[in-house]
């Protein structure tokens, strides 16, 4: 099997730009966009009848057990991987005897993953695959993506959450009205040049330090401790406080310099996280990491491979 070239014409309402994207067979591509744009993109993709989009919207046989469902799909699609291996790799062995209507959303999602994996379409297109599922399920999904890449099947993931895009994919694109744009890949080696700011002035005003953010014509001053994390969007930093976000005028690098003293850490090329508010450091099976925040939204922030060392040093972890 080889790569796949995805071509989309302009959408009906005209907001979707024409897209031509070539999917590599051994790496995972993600397109990050807002939900409206995503819906249009899905519509455009489904014009091509041979593509089956994974979206967990179709029904499963909910009177039957997990085992019966998986057995049926295994036979139907004539899957060559043995059935017990499928059950174990999607962590379904513990709930195999449970009727599907009694399963949790995460367990259901794993059955959906197993079904799509056994269907083995070419290419695989996922819409919000890990939305609303638990950590164990995200891990099985990452393992599945690894197997998909080993099978030389191109995979495309459509998400409206940048953290998910960065966690799941090797190449991430951002889709906007002006077109498809590749997002900065986090290789870790080429750290951006941090513009020198006057350290003296920031240190003297440190005690009174507030972060100003603009909303329309108002300027809101945020206490650093309020902030959950800061993400970069189009070169501009955005403060995220639980579900809300506010854009800043400065770049991530400038903010990083100022906030370092308050226990903020640049955990990813496009993220600065408030370490006081980190609850968990999650290690995914693909040797990737995430930070889980202690905010009501329980956000997960990507943590670069190269930045894990810094965190471990900071918390005296080994």
């Amino acid at each position: 099997m080889t790569g796949f070239i995805l071509n989309c014409e302009t959408g009906k309402s005209g907001t979707l730009p024409p897209i031509s994207l070539s999917l590599n067979e051994s790496s995972t591509t993600a397109i990050y966009s807002d939900t409206d744009m995503q819906a249009e993109l899905i519509d455009a993709i489904q014009q091509n009848r041979n593509i089956t989009v994974f979206n967990r919207k179709e029904g499963l046989y909910d009177r039957l057990t997990v085992m019966d469902n998986v057995t049926f799909y295994h036979k139907w699609f004539g899957c060559s991987v043995p059935l017990p291996e499928i059950l174990v790799s999607f962590e379904l062995q513990m709930c195999a005897k449970k009727p599907l209507k009694k399963c949790s959303q995460s367990e259901m999602s794993r059955v959906y993953y197993a079904k799509y994996f056994m269907m083995n379409p070419h290419p695989m297109v996922f819409q919000e695959p890990i939305h609303g599922v638990d950590i164990k399920t995200i891990n099985t999904f990452i393992n599945m993506l690894k197997k998909v890449a080993d099978n030389q099947t191109p995979a495309l993931i459509l998400v409206s959450n940048m953290e998910h895009a960065l966690l799941l994919s090797d190449i991430t694109y951002k889709l906007q009205e002006k077109g498809l744009q590749e997002m900065e890949v986090d290789t870790g080696e080429k750290d951006e040049i941090i513009p020198e700011t006057e350290p003296a002035s920031t240190l003297t005003t440190a005690k009174l330090f507030k972060i100003p953010a603009k909303i329309e014509d108002k300027v809101i001053l945020f206490d650093p401790m309020e902030i959950d994390y800061i993400e970069s969007q189009d070169g501009k930093a955005r403060i995220v406080i639980n579900h809300e976000s506010f854009s800043l005028d400065s770049t991530l690098a400038e903010i990083e310099k100022k906030l370092e003293v308050y226990g903020f850490y640049r955990c990813h090329r496009s993220y600065i996280v408030n370490l006081q508010k980190v609850r968990e450091i999650i290690t995914w099976s693909k040797n990737t990491y995430s930070l889980r925040m202690d905010n009501p939204a329980k956000s997960t922030i990507p943590l670069s491979r190269t930045k894990i060392q810094g965190i471990q040093d900071m918390f005296n972890l080994k």
């Binding site: 089956t52 919207k57 179709e58 029904g59 499963l60 046989y61 909910d62 009177r63 039957l64 019966d68 057995t71 049926f72 036979k75 139907w76 004539g78 009727p99 079904k115 799509y116 269907m119």
Partner: protein, 231 residues
């Protein structure tokens, strides 16, 4: 056609049948009805139209109804999305389901006929007639199942099928005159033709039933074509 897929559908639907109360209660209807009628008959056995009434009930309430319900449920829950990659795989689904329905009908019919006396039915000609009648109801069920979008809607379609084709011998009890147009038309219905064949052993009636079955098959084919072009 792919026997592995047919096997998969058969196994899945058989398990599902056992867990679906709505489907599971249907085969009980003809069995209970035959139990009641067997008490009425006395020593000399039931008249032939009564025997065929049980047959009609069994075919309409088991064959047609479970086929419709099973297909409507797949439509309603969109469980077939992604399973049908070609028209051939659709045939596999229908054949797999028909096998389940066939098995259930055989069990229900045999049990009910055992209660009212199975001897009158153990003739080649009668059995061929019953097979044709089974196919007729099966095609009706498939055809209706193809375009019903929800399980609730199937009962609306099931009623006319049951009363027209399942309860045809009951038409005689409506108190209509022997040569009224309704009775004349009802006499052409498959169940009445089979009763006629049972009594006179004429192959002519068999031909009429075969025409009905063929018509049902054409109806199914039209529904199938229409569904294909709709989406």
């Amino acid at each position: 056609m792919n026997t592995q897929r047919i096997g998969a559908i058969f196994e899945k639907d058989l398990k599902d049948f056992m867990k679906n109360m709505m489907l599971l209660t249907m085969p009980i209807i003809p069995i209970i009805l035959s139990l009641i009628y067997s008490r009425l008959g006395g020593d000399e056995g039931l008249p032939v139209p009564m025997l065929y009434l049980i047959v009609g009930v069994a075919f309409s309430s088991v064959t047609a109804s479970s086929m419709m319900t099973m297909m409507a449920e797949e439509n309603e829950k969109k469980t077939l999305r992604g399973l049908m990659m070609s028209p051939a795989s659709f045939m596999d689904i229908i054949i797999g389901k028909s096998l389940v329905v066939g098995l259930m009908t055989l069990i229900a019919l045999t049990l009910s006929l055992l209660f009212i006396g199975i001897e009158p039915f153990l003739k080649i000609q009668v059995i061929i007639g019953l097979v044709l009648l089974f196919l007729f109801f099966l095609f009706l069920g498939i055809g209706i199942g193809l375009f019903t979008k929800s399980v609730a809607a199937t009962s609306a379609y099931l009623m006319p099928v049951m009363f027209l084709f399942g309860f045809t011998p009951m038409m005689g009890f409506l108190g209509l005159e022997e040569d009224s147009i309704v009775i004349k038309i009802a006499d052409l219905f498959p169940l009445m033709q089979l009763i006629n064949m049972h009594e006179t052993e004429s192959w002519m009636s068999m031909g009429v039933v075969a025409i009905w079955t063929l018509a049902a098959a054409i109806f199914t084919y039209i529904c199938f074509k229409k569904e294909r072009t709709d989406d």
